[in-house]
């Protein structure tokens, strides 16, 4: 199997070279040529070529085809903790509703748990058409093998076309296992979900290569299409009163269904760090200059009653604790106000905070990419501006 370029059609425009992340295309005599050793068959070049000169030459291999027209409906798998449905699941219901409407199918909420009987009515306000409630005492806690078993069985029986799951330590644990069991395509950490009307393909956009690039992924020949999404990517749904069908199934597990046992749960002494739920976040970057320099950032956070965060480099330089890192390899946050101090705005950081309602950026460099994402921009030395800003905010707080 290989990528082939039609020499007759190629104009040497090099857009394929730019699209290739693997240095697998070069121009020879103004014609694009594929370097087979580097090519990973990612097919990015095929899509980008304005001349449609690039194609994939496949060997004739028999691949089992799935009859995708049999699959209908959008599912969201509920995640719960201490009897409370997590926000990410409700946010997925909001997005799921939109997708289900476009596809003209039902939206189902799949809940594996126990003790939810008295909560179903309240839950039914979140826009689904159906709640599938799988009830068993052991489902009070999360077990990978039990979730995989139940969800796979239900999917085989009901054939949904789309399944949305929170990209949490729980969702990211069972989703791949279910996908493997069903031989279904799964896309992690999506930041955008759309559907193609004609093909009913779910177009899943996600950051890759540390967030430097966005990729749109689809699963054209298999169903269900599974995607995980982090908390805060989509908005919370409005509550609506409507008829919701409730299917409650009392599920009985066999002893051998789970090899793993939970021995105990250790709650760490409550760290004060809660970036995910913070209304206001003040974050520092390399421009803060030093560990000592962070004091002024902390002080600003204090007067605003905000949570303190930072970019990856500040953690690497030991200016900040790792659990305060925001970005691709850290937390994804969605505060009402995000104040970025001395953060240049590498895309790895942006993907973690781009859904903040209002972004204020303070940076010496007027060309810093962070200004492309800010609502209010201040070009200047943060160590001069922030102390004055702190005094100003104090005045306002006193007036209140």
């Amino acid at each position: 199997m290989s990528i082939v370029i039609d020499e007759e059609l190629c104009t040497g425009c090099a857009s394929c070279m730019d699209s290739c992340m693997y240095d697998a295309i070069e121009l020879k005599n103004n014609i694009a040529t594929v370097l087979k050793d580097n090519c990973t068959l990612c097919k990015a070049c095929i899509e980008i070529c304005p001349e449609e000169a690039i194609s994939l030459e496949r060997e004739d291999v028999k691949i089992q085809k799935v009859d995708i027209s049999q699959f209908k409906g959008v599912w969201v798998v509920a995640e719960h903790y201490k009897k409370k449905i997590q926000n990410v699941s409700l946010q997925l219901l909001n997005k799921g509703r939109e997708l289900a409407n476009l596809l003209q199918v039902n939206l189902s909420f799949l809940l594996l748990g126990t003790d939810f009987d008295d909560k179903l009515e309240e839950l039914s306000l979140y826009g689904m058409d159906e709640i599938i409630y799988i009830k068993s005492p052991i489902l009070k806690d999360y077990y990978s093998d039990l979730y995989t078993k139940v969800i796979s069985e239900l999917v085989l029986e009901n054939k949904p076309e789309i399944i949305l799951i929170g990209a949490t330590p729980t969702g990211r644990d069972f989703a791949p296992r279910v996908a493997k069991r069903l031989n279904a395509g799964l896309t992690a950490d999506c930041t955008g979900l759309e559907v193609n009307h004609a093909t009913r393909d779910l177009l899943q956009t996600r950051p890759t290569y540390g967030g430097s690039i966005m990729a749109t992924i689809r699963t054209p020949s298999s169903r269900p299409q599974m995607a995980t999404v982090r908390a805060g990517i989509f908005n919370m749904p409005e509550k609506v009163k409507k008829r919701v069908n409730i299917r409650k199934i009392e599920y009985e597990f066999e002893e051998e269904d789970s090899v793993s046992k939970i021995v105990k749960v250790i709650s760490k002494t409550k760290t004060s760090v809660n970036l995910e739920d913070a209304k206001i976040i003040v974050a520092g970057g390399r421009g803060v200059g030093s560990r000592e320099g962070f004091r002024v950032i902390e002080e600003l956070a204090e007067v605003l009653d905000a949570e303190l965060g930072g970019s990856r480099i500040t953690v690497e330089l030991n200016w900040l604790d790792p659990d305060r890192q925001i970005g691709q390899t850290g937390k994804t946050v969605t505060p009402k106000l995000y104040i970025a101090c001395g953060i240049s705005g590498a895309i790895q950081h942006i993907v973690g905070m781009q859904n903040s309602e209002i972004v204020v950026a303070i940076n010496k460099d007027s060309n810093a990419p962070i200004f492309n994402w800010a609502h209010y921009g201040i070009v200047g030395d943060l160590h001069e501006i922030i102390p004055v800003l702190i005094e100003e905010i104090k005045k306002i707080k006193v007036d209140e």
């Binding site: 990015a44 996908a179 890759t208 021995v263 250790i266 990856r312 590498a346 070009v379 905010i393």
Partner: protein, 264 residues
Amino acid sequence: MCIKQVPGVSEVKIDPKTNTLVREGVLSIINPNDRNALELALTLKEEYKAEVIALSMGPPQAEEALREALAMGVDKCFLLSDRAFAGADTLATSHTLALAIKKVINETDPGEKYLIICGAQAVDGDTGQVPPELAEELGIPQITYVQNIELSEDKIVVERKFRATEIVVIETKLPALISVLIDINKPRYPSMAGIMKAYDNANVVYLDSNALNADKSKIGLNGSMTEVKKIFFPERKVNPVMLEGSAEEIAKKLCQYLKDDKIF
């Protein structure tokens, strides 16, 4: 244990003029999380006299990553390399790795006493999907996002990071698969002697699709359910209101705006 060779991503930058990736000087490295997996495997080797076998799937240049693993103290290495593996998504990748692991287990015959260790996720794709998919294909239990482990005769007890403030302690039987987080340990550096040994004696065994007896419809692009439709660079989102003047003026203006936006 499994290793992936990745580009040093924190080095990858976009040229703002051409809006393309700047790749110059980007080195390939062992995925940072896999170094933690390696370190754990080597610690267990010292404690339990275990044999540590490393596998990687990738182009021939991924041999460098395996040589480094040998230098750190890994006993044996396999590189799954074949054009037919190219274009694999996580489903096809985990299938290929599973074939190789089954082959190795068949040959080394550890009985029930083996543990597969992976890094929780790779810095390039960052999906974290291969470990659970691999466990499923091997039909063994998985525990992901592990930050501590105790191994005994036929079982493991691990601490799994479940939420920011909570750790779940889980016990499971061997064989099992775990994926480890960056905070589980501090990976060692290869010793000089290790490096010499890695390049002098030890072998990296190449396995291609024939050696694995792979079904061509389940590997590489053919075995992948997902495909990349489009790749693009993230776009600018908003035009900022720039605040100018003295620090006092700026502070006053900003506070007024934030009041108007009902933040205060």
